[in-house]
Symmetry: C2
Amino acid sequence: LKRRTVGIFGVGAIGGSIALRARRGGATVIGFDRDAAALAQARRLGAIDAVTEAEEASRDVDILFTAAHLEPTLKEIERLQIAPGTRANLIVDVASVKLPVVRAAARLRNFVATHPIAGTEQSGAGAARADLFEDRPWVYVRSGDEELDERARGFIESMGAVPLEMAADEHDRAVALTSHLPQVVASCYATILRAADDDAKRLAGPVARELLRIAGMSFDMWRDILRANAANIEPHLRCLAAELQTAAAALARDDVESLASLFTR
Amino acid sequence: LKRRTVGIFGVGAIGGSIALRARRGGATVIGFDRDAAALAQARRLGAIDAVTEAEEASRDVDILFTAAHLEPTLKEIERLQIAPGTRANLIVDVASVKLPVVRAAARLRNFVATHPIAGTEQSGAGAARADLFEDRPWVYVRSGDEELDERARGFIESMGAVPLEMAADEHDRAVALTSHLPQVVASCYATILRAADDDAKRLAGPVARELLRIAGMSFDMWRDILRANAANIEPHLRCLAAELQTAAAALARDDVESLASLFTR
């Protein structure tokens, strides 16, 4: 990344972490965020070198990142397609659902759809960490241009992450199970726990607290994800509900032994 | 705890943590475990001063702890009722369900039913830590003898924990929600995830990994808990299943907005 210029659109927890890591690798980082306070914070935290306008952030950079939520990412892709004006030879997004992104970016040159699998339940540049992606998988969707894909893999590796090639629909089915289902479960569980009395809440053990922590995430982010990936999430929700009903029935008929298989490591 | 002798029946993660903390406070700790390897390990780790027979561990002690799973705890309580032979002026258990314990110990002198709310998904003395209970709630069920309860509170505080008085049935309803429901959810979720392909598993984020970690707990321990508290757990399972079905239906009709209330902090 030495002597490269990286433009980052959206300097929250993910964008900020990319910025910190890129700077550590010797890059100059230009940041933009619709939220002026977020932008100022990223500057204060030393995540970005220069603060600029959206157009400028995309024009004079070698690598361009759109690190916003899904809907702003789709809008930014559209803007770049209408008014390219960037010399970047690698444009990357990090949204949590890939099929809508790949479809939206069909005519965008040098674009690779990606998704770093790194947990940040906190949002904002304050939650950014240069080592957020260290040894974590970072999914990318093959662009069809092997040279471009190689640049994307190189960038992912420069972030400390492990490139993992997946098809967009395959990725969306997988995260429905590994990320979106747990999020809805946590949110439903938190809703039930909130209705309980205070003494019950004081007894929350590590699992309950982890579920509550996740349930506190922003609906602004999750609205887009749930809508975009509804078709993949819905069957998993029904499947888990059926498993819980089966377990409830086993408890009701004092047949705890039939639950043993659930506890297989 | 200075110059007191504490007997601990069951030197796993919880019993071992009590032992470490009691020794740090100046007590002499005598340990017993049906599992000879566990006993040897606790000795090796310095959690206990003396290793002994069950009868001996209960005879010459000031405070007696049964820190085993639910069924062995009930058996030990029965043994102590039949053949008291202990000079302990405080006998305490730490099982996860309290109503069966309180009922079994109805005629046991100096007994207080308790439950430390401290997470140890790992088992065995190797997982013991002197600070496991630090600032965590530790439930006790009033015995009816105020002086005895005061001794129990004193011991709980000497463990670094915060005494929390609850009725046995109230406790069992609360942990059904805060501990037992999450455990079954985690186990059902893990069952679904295990059936997925390997790439999906690699995408497991922090929530999924936390659920998998919990799901790996021993059925030997959970069998007793689920059976003893089935009546309290079953309605919560049905309630959560219904919430998941409602969420699934909302996704199916593209009504993500109706899920906003699930994300209230």
